[in-house]
């Protein structure tokens, strides 16, 4: 596992305490796992995705990520309806390890209330939490 200073945390996404990130673009929010989460999990071997059209409330479990170490649930940072899932992860779950903020995104949602994004942490707050 890497030191926190060796991990990558972009400024333009918001973070949750469960280590998901959310990035807003127009009226769509893309969601994935942070660099810290993928590093802690180790090599990811399977990603369980929801179906397009499913709706979840903030904090609901929407899928799971299985690594050689453990199976971990992933929680939705804000309420919304699934409008896209990253189908590339079915054959290449390692994308979450290799490129967690771009090619390794997990879902796209249409948020119910975009202002819920304000509840999430920015990079500085997330780093503070990680350093405890």
């Amino acid at each position: 596992m890497k030191e926190i200073s060796d991990l990558n945390f972009p400024e333009d996404v918001k973070y949750t305490k469960d280590h998901e990130w959310s990035k807003s673009c127009g009226d769509i929010v893309t969601i994935g796992l942070s660099d810290y989460a993928q590093d802690q999990l180790g090599e990811i071997v399977f990603v369980e995705l929801p179906e397009v059209g499913d709706s979840f409330s903030q904090g609901d479990e929407f899928g799971s990520v299985e690594s050689v170490k453990a199976v971990s649930e992933v929680y939705i940072p804000i309420s919304g309806e699934i409008v896209g899932i990253n189908e590339d992860l079915e054959d290449a779950p390692e994308l979450v390890n290799e490129d967690c903020y771009e090619g390794g995104w997990i879902i796209k949602i249409k948020p119910e209330d975009p202002s819920q994004l304000d509840d999430l942490m920015d990079k500085a707050a997330y780093l503070n939490m990680l350093k405890g």
């Binding site: 596992m1 090599e43 071997v45 399977f46 299985e66 050689v68 170490k69 453990a70 779950p93 390692e94």
Partner: protein, 490 residues
């Protein structure tokens, strides 16, 4: 350092039986039929099943060679934490193989089964005495099944009281199967954290215990190998709100003859005969998970139950009874895994009360000896006297990027079965050692030396550890590719 048991010997390759098969080769000569040939109706005829064709020697060599790849407690130390892989005295196998037991059949009827019934009855009495409870069922097939039986009884108890409850408290140091057993009974798990000392704080339990909570499931000693010292106070808190206490007795090997869980306020407890009471396990063979209960829960025990009447001397003295209207019902065909019960009974009788107590004392002593000997070599997150097992992690090795996994794999090269790793989850990258009472000081010292040598290698030659094991028939497996692209057909 003394010589280690691990070495590279002649390791056989062995193909599958199919590959050795040759048309017409045969291992048996059947005697000539001494009865008239009977024709089989054509609609019952079909192609013979495809079976490998082999000589007797082919078969003997095949299995003998495969057995050389095996590692068990009969070949070396097997310090698999949480599993109690102790040596099982061979006398227990001899008793279980006696013709009267081996040839018994559960449909033979009670007049032909008095000995088997008496053994089960007496075993229930002995386990009741060891655990401190008035009644025991031997039916559950293994530990998690025992948990389910216990939780079903707790569920039935609340139902009988007229108000079902919806939640169960489960600490982070409980066995992983506990929440599953509770969920199967429809309860929602309320997870609580152990305190700084690695044991439960009464205030944590009091904060969540309410009149909608059916009870708590406590593993004691817990999965950190620590004794829950506040157990009585915790039981009082749960009882005061009308809840019951489920005790996971899988770690009973630490306290036999020293503490009776029934005296601590626990209401229902399961045991793992295949761990504590000496049956070979770990290969998926049958286990046995008897459950002990307090007086209030006796009506809910599974049926059938065994009863003894009169003086115990005639052919109807011991019998099964099923007339128990509040029972949770039948949990297993017949009365559970009888072979395991014979071994447990033989073990208890041959050890005696004093012997069982000494076994627990030695199990605890051995674990503490390892804890003290290795605590400078490996990080020990909870530095307190432990029970039958101790939990380290890889914190000191992280600077060389060596993980618990690497060290566990390397132990294979030194001739030891690795300990349990990455469990319990309360310790990050746990390395959990349970030596059991049956290892000698010499063997334990050899294990300690091996771990110290590996820690040294972690500093001097970390790349070697990353490739370990190097001496085994199969070296480091590519678990990632196996999981990402599983090949499920030969």
């Amino acid at each position: 350092m003394n010589k280690q048991p691990g070495t590279r010997g002649l390791i056989f390759n062995e193909p599958q039986l199919w590959e050795k098969s040759r048309e017409g080769r045969c291992a048996v000569s059947l005697p000539k039929a001494d009865v008239e040939r009977a024709e089989i109706a054509p609609h019952l005829m079909g192609d013979a099943p495809g079976l490998p064709q082999l000589s007797e020697l082919d078969v003997v060599r095949h299995y003998t060679r495969l057995s050389q790849w095996n590692f068990g407690v009969d070949s070396g130390m097997y310090p698999l934490g949480s599993c109690t892989m102790k040596y099982n005295p061979k006398t227990n196998e001899v008793q279980a193989a006696r013709q009267g037991f081996a040839g018994a059949h559960p449909l033979a009827g009670k007049e032909f089964s008095q000995g088997a019934l008496k053994l089960m009855y007496d075993l229930e009495q002995a386990l009741g005495e060891i655990t401190g409870f008035p009644a025991v069922t031997l039916q559950p097939a293994a530990g998690a099944h025992g948990e389910l039986a216990g939780m079903l009884m707790i569920h039935a108890y609340h139902a009988k009281k007229g108000k079902q409850r919806s939640k169960i408290i489960i600490p982070d140091t409980a066995h992983g199967t506990n929440p599953a057993s509770a969920s199967l009974c429809g309860y929602e798990s309320v997870n609580i954290k152990s305190g700084e000392k690695g044991i439960l704080e009464p205030a944590t339990v009091a904060a969540v215990m309410d009149e909608d909570t059916a009870g708590i499931m406590i593993t004691n000693p817990n999965t950190l190998g620590l004794f829950e010292e506040n157990i009585r106070e915790i039981c009082d808190i749960v009882h005061a709100k009308g809840g019951l206490v489920y005790g996971d007795g899988a770690n009973m090997n630490a306290i036999m003859g020293i503490v009776k869980p029934g005296d601590l306020g626990i209401d229902v407890l399961h045991l793992n005969l295949h761990k504590t009471f000496s049956t070979p396990h770990g290969g998926g063979g049958p286990g046995s998970g008897p459950v002990s209960v307090v007086k209030e829960l006796i009506p809910f025990l599974p049926v059938p139950r065994i009863e003894k009447n009169r003086d115990g001397k005639d052919l109807s003295s011991y019998k099964f009874v099923t007339d128990c209207p509040d029972s949770i019902g039948r949990l297993h065909t017949f009365y559970g895994h009888f072979g395991v019960m014979i071994k447990a009974y033989s073990y208890i009788l041959s050890m005696g009360g004093k012997g069982l107590r000494e076994a627990s004392q030695l199990a605890v002593l051995n674990a503490n000896y390892i804890k003290e000997s290795l605590k400078g070599t490996l990080n020990l997150p909870y530095d307190r006297p432990c029970m039958h097992e101790c939990v380290f992690n890889d914190k000191y090795q992280q600077e060389n990027h060596i993980t618990t996994m690497d060290m566990a794999k390397r132990l294979l090269d030194y001739g030891f079965h690795p300990p349990t790793i990455y469990f319990p989850l309360v310790v990050d990258a746990a390395f959990m050692v349970e030596p059991t009472e049956t290892e000698s000081k010499e063997d334990i010292d050899q294990f300690i030396d091996a771990v110290k040598a590996i820690a040294k290698e972690a500093k001097l030659d970390p790349e070697k550890l990353k490739k370990a094991p190097l001496l085994t028939k199969v070296t480091r497996l590519d678990e990632v590719t196996a999981a990402r692209k599983p090949c499920l057909r030969g």
